[in-house]
Amino acid sequence: MAIDQPGTTGTPDADEDEPEDIVMSVRDARVSFDMARGQAWVLNDVDLDVRRNEILAVVGESGSGKSMFASALLDAVEDPGVLAGDVTYYPDEAAGESQTIGSFDQGLDDSVDVLDLDSDELQAFRWEKVSMVFQGAMNSFNPTMKIKAHFHETIQAHNAVLEERMDHVRKLFDALYIDFDRVMTSYPHELSGGIKQRTLIALALVLEPEVLVMDEPTAALDLLMQRSIISMLRNLRDEFDLTIVFITHDLPLVGGLADRIAVMYAFEFVEVGATRDLMKNAAHPYTRSLLRSVPSINSDVDEMEPIEGARPDPVNIPTGCSFHPRCPVADDRCEIEDPDLAAVEDDLQAACFYTDQAREKIDYTLEDESTEDDR
């Protein structure tokens, strides 16, 4: 398992004297589908590090590959998709030997090559180390099984101690403000969307994973419920020592939640950075256009500025920079050369040759509320 030293490849600007504590790193991850029209790339050689205990938001429009990235973290890309590259998990050294909840045995290595695990190991790895809350919480429970059975079967599948785990679930339910006894004896259809979503989060955390991947967890909820779940996530992260990877299409929503934001366009990361820097003064033209197109309650509908053009076809990704056909600052160079992520500021990287021009040409203003760190 020869893997690059974490924190060097994806974040070349990282402070040399203070190496970041990386919990998962993704290198050259690519997912391809064989289609009748040719091979479709739905994740295109992406590199990203997930830092321990951070909330990382992965933002992109639908079909940008963000769900594929989420699945890749658990090696859960569905057939016929093929995932290649490296996904590495670094266990928490501080926690040491105390973690004996499930059946996953990471052995003596200090890192786990996720794509190298055999199917038994992978089955143990998922949920014990990295777990996931799916898109569409409404359909994530078996409709003919009580909620309790979902918890029990998960605990038993991982050979964990039932009572001890259920005590933990009680704590999770308290942290998520749901009534343990009532919810446990209910069928999924008897619960409201918000409770179902929160129960699903608790189900993902039964085995105390280090990383929680959430794929559009708030997509089907009303705005109030979205807010309340977002605010619970921070508490959850602090209380249970979690790292959260939050996949969403809603950039302003995660402005107040995430520590870092990674923006995806056309199956690649185009900009990665600390939330404050990225929201305040994004460097990539796509991010800037995206922030500009956010509807605001104060501005007129006519003033809304959508991004012109259509998203690229996964079989036929544009050469060079994949955003160039829709980019206002693109020139000939962008059509030929594909820019890599490069440092713009201390904790902000963008894959663009003309970040200065982009900042000059594309203006946006944000409503205070979404950039304010008010939670």
């Binding site: 949920w127 799916f134 898109q135 359909n139 994530s140 078996n142 599948a157 259809h189 619960l191």
Partner: protein
């Protein structure tokens, strides 16, 4: 509770309406069996000389349990009250036995055929359906689909006749008719039991084919839908074992839409038994119904209809009342609050 009372009352009403229709139609049809019987009696008396219309009417009433001079409503009332108060279903003209006794003796045989046929048929369709869905798109899937469609395309009575002619008449593997071996004393002895199975095998097989085809394709479609569902993917990632996914997730949930069909199908199967039993000369309730129709044995027709009607209505009632037990989403009434 109110739901159950209402639902049962509905069933009783359905049964009574059906019964009334049969009764009224019997009386109203031009050249009805009743008129035929009376004409027969009159002809007999004419040969002897004088015609006593009152005596004819009395004799007709004796034979059919129907007084031709009564209005239909009154006659129907008398017929039903006879059943309810005295357990009197009339007397078969053909066999000169109480209708109830004839049907009561025949019933277990019909139930034997139907229950085994339907149980085998549905077990097979569930297994084959899940198997096809699990290997969706493979050669096994297409092969089984072709097989199921071919089986489905052959009417069960044609299948029955072919089986009868090949397996029974040509090769002599099975008896050509009857319910039990004549030579063996009836009772709980091995030989008699085996004899019953031997006689019942072909009718059961033909009933089985009836339930098999359509069921397995439906099951396949339901299962494929569930294989693609979010909760199945989620369960797999949670590490739930394939066995549990197959039983608790796939099969369990895919059966739900078929369940009503299964229970209602019991009624339909009894009806199809009329033909199956006749082909195999198997003296069950269906065979007696056929005989009674051919011989204008009116009380037996009414009795048989009552029997088949009751089975069908009971099947539907059972499906309605028990669906809530197997699918928690269909709980009847507001027994639990959503919160």
């Amino acid at each position: 509770m109110r739901y159950y009372v209402r639902r049962i009352a509905q069933s009783v009403f359905t049964l009574l309406s059906g019964l009334f229709l049969t009764y009224a139609l019997y009386r109203l049809i031009p050249g009805s069996p009743l008129k035929a019987i009376m004409a027969n009696l009159i002809a007999q008396q004419q040969r002897r000389g004088e015609v006593d219309t009152e005596q004819v009417a009395r004799m007709a009433e004796q034979m059919t349990g129907i007084n031709p001079d009564e209005p239909i409503i009154v006659g129907f009332f008398n017929y039903v009250s006879g059943i309810v108060l005295r357990g009197d279903f009339g007397t078969s003209i053909l066999y000169q036995d109480p209708v109830f006794d004839i049907l009561f003796r025949a019933m277990p045989w019909s139930i034997f055929l139907s229950v085994y046929g339907i149980m085998l048929g549905f077990t097979a369709s569930i297994l084959v359906g899940v198997l096809m869905a699990w290997h969706e798109g493979s050669k096994l899937d297409s092969g089984l689909t072709v097989l199921v469609l071919s089986v489905n395309a052959i009417p069960y009575y044609v299948g029955a006749i072919v089986m009868l002619s090949l397996l029974a008449f040509q090769w002599g593997l099975f008896p050509t008719g009857g319910r039990a071996p004549r030579a063996v004393a009836p009772g709980f002895n091995v030989q008699f039991m085996l004899g019953i199975l031997h006689h019942g095998a072909l009718p059961i097989l033909s009933t089985f084919l009836l339930g098999f085809g359509a069921g397995s394709l439906g099951m396949r479609a339901n299962t494929v839908r569930i294989v693609g569902s979010d909760y199945l993917r989620s369960a797999r990632l949670r590490g739930v074992s394939s066995n549990r996914i197959l039983t608790r997730y796939l099969t369990r949930n895919a059966i739900l839409p078929l369940y009503t069909g299964l229970v209602v199908g019991i009624g339909a199967l009894f009806a199809s038994n009329v033909i199956t039993e006749y082909i195999f000369q198997y003296q069950g309730a269906g065979w007696f119904l056929f005989e009674s129709v051919v011989n204008q044995d009116y009380p037996l027709i009414m009795g048989s209809f009552l029997f088949f009607g009751t089975v069908t209505v009971l099947g539907i009632l059972l499906a309605d009342l028990t669906y809530g037990l197997i699918d928690p989403r269909a709980e009847t009434g507001a027994t639990r609050d959503t919160f």
